[in-house]
């Protein structure tokens, strides 16, 4: 869902940041002494809570566009999620769909029709009533070909959405979105989609204010003209500096939003990011914005969080080029890789070694056995392919885009293949544009790639390997695999569906057009006085119910994490059962936890 984690980051360091960075580095000795004296565990830097109810964090690189219909980047999404809310809204802890703008919904027995009922009295931040037709208009806006929305494909489970998006039909009434009255939205799907309620909380599915768009065109997202429907509105923005969000008093659950505001600094320099946190300027560094060499050191601190992230780093093999058209060659290359040495040795445990193409974290999905390091079998496979001891095997190349980590991993793999298979490998470092052109045009032997999931389902990792998919990029084509993926898409029974996907993944691993290397991890820092931010495999963080605990030191002694669970009891009930009329239905417990 994101441009590659390895894309070059522009380095900025404004004078203020630099000053703070230096200032923070000047007096490291004083802090631990004070904390030890107070009898507290070690935290990284200043732990004095701010005096106001404002969360300050590093939003990351400057978002390219935060019009939710058109946004696609990771930091674009962060801004969209603060400002807008869809029919459903993710639970901060589990990411399961909770009632958002819709307070209940029904699904037809065949799984094809969803009827959403909007909360009574919903309105936009400018006071305009928000109706079901706003959703219909916004979804059609995503699909209109002239808008060129990059994530339009996420709406393709809806009947005729794809045809409309590709310009095959111009009739918007043919698309399965209907608003029979102001508070009812009926969505008809092309086929049952088990994860549809996860999609409706994604920012591509949120409503956008047509009144503001009509007036301001593509400049409607500027502060002053932007209108939103989420828990916060945009108050201030300065490019490459910061976003300031203010609490939206018109949000349906505003009574339970405890933050008065959020400040998101747009800092893409990793050291600046860590230093601002240490100095206490920011309260949260989301994953991806800590220098990797600092992570082994940061592990020692209590405010550091490490967990699995739904992403896989892998090498893709161009099966159209000999000798890679031979499956035994691909198997040999796969088996000769010591993932453990890369993730735990080279990357110092900041990643998990991983031999599967789907990441962990899908309840109910049982992975097929992953690929393992087996040098003896690897040599056997290469011999079976006709290259005993690597004899006659041509020199092959690994392509990667410029990044220190990509290079180090490629060097390690080059050495492994040389030592185990006795084959020659050259490394080819390319600038992003050339790299991508080589990848899409199948002008490569072996290329570094990564895949990050869009929604919590293994399908997001497996569907792209069907024949001819724009993201396949390996030339691999397998009719049985294509059939399995299609069969899974039609299957309503979740257990059977996962079984089919498991079979597909096993086939993909056995055929080896890909070489999984490691499982992405989240590494983040959260001040102990911030509650309601949880580690999760999508690295998605709804901030509606976050709060600043100025009395955290006393709570810390009682139960460090039990306290951070506003709405946890509701998590179990959730869903349609939480019908409760206007206002305070599902997450009313946000205030109760204290």
């Amino acid at each position: 869902m994101v441009s590659a984690p390895g894309t070059p980051r522009r380095r900025i360091a404004t004078c203020l940041h630099l000053l703070l960075a230096l200032g923070a580095g000047c007096a490291p000795a004083a802090r631990p002494a004070a904390e030890v004296a107070a009898g507290h565990a070690r935290y990284f830097g200043d732990v004095t809570p701010p005096l106001d109810d404002v969360l300050r964090f590093n939003l990351g690189a400057e978002p390219e566009i935060y019009d939710p219909s058109l946004a696609a980047g990771q930091t674009d999404g962060r801004v969209c999620r603060i400002l807008f809310e869809g029919l459903t809204h993710e639970d901060a802890r589990t990411l399961e769909p909770r009632p958002g703008q819709a307070y209940r919904w029904e699904t037809s027995p065949d799984g094809l029709t969803y009827t959403f009922h909007l909360r009574p009295g919903l309105c936009w931040s400018d006071g305009t009533p928000l109706t079901a037709d706003d959703f219909r208009w916004s979804w059609l806006r995503v699909l209109k070909p002239e808008n060129a929305a990059r994530y339009a494909g996420l709406l393709s489970p809806i009947r005729n959405a794809e045809a409309y998006n590709h310009g095959e039909t111009a009739d918007s009434n043919a698309v399965g979105i209907a608003a029979p009255d102001d508070s009812t939205l009926v969505v008809t799907l092309a086929q049952p989609t088990a994860y549809f309620l996860y999609l409706t909380q994604f920012y591509t599915y949120v409503p956008v204010p047509r009144q503001a768009i009509a007036r301001h065109g593509n400049r409607w997202t500027m502060p002053g003209t932007i209108v939103s429907n989420g828990a916060f509105t945009l108050r201030y923005w300065r490019q490459n500096n910061r976003f300031e969000f203010a609490r939206n008093p018109r949000y349906w659950d505003a009574a339970n939003v405890r933050l008065q505001g959020i400040v998101g600094y747009t800092i893409d320099d990793l050291n600046t990011s860590a230093n601002l946190y240490k100095a206490g300027v920011i309260d949260w560094v989301p994953s991806g914005y800590l220098p990797s060499q600092a992570i082994p050191y940061l592990r020692e601190y209590r405010d550091f969080r490490h967990g699995n992230y739904q992403g896989v780093y892998f090498y893709s093999i161009n099966v159209k080029r000999p000798p890679f058209d031979n499956v035994w060659v691909r198997r040999a290359l796969n088996l000769a890789i010591d993932r453990d040495a890369i993730a735990n040795g080279l990357l110092k445990r900041s990643r998990e070694p991983w031999g599967n193409m789907t990441p962990s974290g899908y309840p109910g999905y049982e992975h097929p056995p992953g690929l393992r390091y087996d040098p003896v079998r690897a040599r056997e496979c290469l011999a079976k392919a006709g290259y005993p001891g690597g004899k006659g095997f041509r020199k092959i190349s690994i392509q990667f885009n410029t990044s220190e980590d990509h290079r180090r991993i490629a060097e390690a793999i080059q050495a492994m293949w040389k030592n185990v298979l006795h084959i020659q490998v050259e490394l080819s470092n390319q600038e992003w544009g050339s790299f991508m052109q080589g990848l899409t045009g199948l002008q490569y032997d072996i290329a570094r790639r990564s895949w990050l999931g869009d929604y919590l389902d293994p399908n997001t990792f497996l569907a792209c390997w069907i024949t001819g998919d724009g993201n396949n990029r390996s030339g691999w084509s397998n009719r049985r695999y294509d059939g399995l993926i299609r069969q899974a898409a039609r299957e309503i029974d979740p257990v059977l569906r996962f079984a089919i996907l498991r079979e597909a993944e096993a086939l993909l691993l056995d055929e080896g057009p890909t070489i999984p290397v490691y499982h992405y991890s989240t590494n983040e820092l959260v001040k102990p006085y911030v509650h309601g931010i949880y580690q999760n495999p999508l690295d998605v963080h709804p901030l509606n119910y976050v709060w600043i605990d100025r009395d955290w030191r006393n709570h810390e002694a009682e139960a460090p994490h039990a306290l951070a669970a506003p709405g946890a009891e509701d998590a179990a009930s959730g869903g349609p059962a939480a019908a409760g009329g206007a206002g305070r239905a599902p997450s009313a417990a946000a205030a109760r936890a204290h």
């Binding site: 869902m1 994101v2 441009s3 590659a4 894309t7 360091a13 004078c15 203020l16 630099l18 000053l19 703070l20 230096l22 200032g23 000047c26 701010p50 005096l51 106001d52 404002v54 300050r56 400057e62 390219e64 566009i65 019009d67 058109l70 696609a72 070909p145 002239e146 808008n147 060129a148 929305a149 990059r150 339009a152 494909g153 998006n165 590709h166 310009g167 593509n218 400049r219 997202t221 500027m222 490019q239 400040v263 100095a279 206490g280 300027v281 600038e431 992003w432 544009g433 050339s434 991508m436 052109q437 899409t440 790639r449 990564s450 895949w451 998919d469 724009g470 993201n471 990029r473």
Partner: protein, 175 residues
């Protein structure tokens, strides 16, 4: 003097034209395009994007449009930040750069020129060596070391630094 200045200004026109032309064709000659990401953009969406930015037109049409735009200081919409014009982004940052450059120039002229004259007049004396030593140090020390050192050393003690942090945290109103 006036004719000299006029000639220099007029000479800038072909120079800028050559730079603009070179930049235009170099960017188009390089592999890749503005709409590439690790996740594939659907072909239909890509075609629409290309159309929106006029990239589907013949190269000479694009070039003429670019040149006429540049002549009017209109650099078109940003590829990276689709809701913004390039002109706006420049207009936002340019005043700050100009202010900084202005002060730097002022210091260079007011301090640098007299010191240079002084050193030249007393060539090979200790005064000359001192002046050249300072200049050489200024050139050799990287900016990222020199800048903060000057700022911290000249202007900021720990108290001011603490105030800066408080400002950034919003604990104090520093507008």
């Amino acid at each position: 003097m006036v004719t000299f200045l006029l000639r220099r200004v007029l000479l800038m026109v072909p120079t800028l034209w050559a730079i603009a032309t070179l930049a235009f064709f170099l960017v188009r000659g390089a592999p890749g395009g503005p709409f590439q990401s690790e996740k594939e953009i659907p072909a239909a969406a890509r075609a629409q994007l290309m159309h929106k930015y006029g990239l589907d037109q013949p190269l000479h049409v694009q070039y003429l449009r670019f040149l006429t735009g540049v002549a009017r200081l209109d650099f078109g919409p940003s590829y990276k930040f689709p809701s913004r014009q390039v002109r706006e982004i420049i207009a936002e940052a340019l005043p700050v750069s100009l202010e900084l450059a202005g002060w730097a120039l002022l210091i260079a002229v007011l301090a640098g020129v007299p010191i240079g004259i002084f050193a030249a007049v007393r060539q090979n004396t200790s005064a000359d060596y001192a002046a050249m030593g300072v200049a050489l140090a200024g050139v050799s020390v990287p900016n990222f070391v020199l800048g903060p050192t000057l700022v911290l050393g000249v202007r900021l003690g720990p108290a001011e630094l603490a105030e800066l942090i408080a400002c950034a945290r919003g604990e104090r109103d520093c507008a």
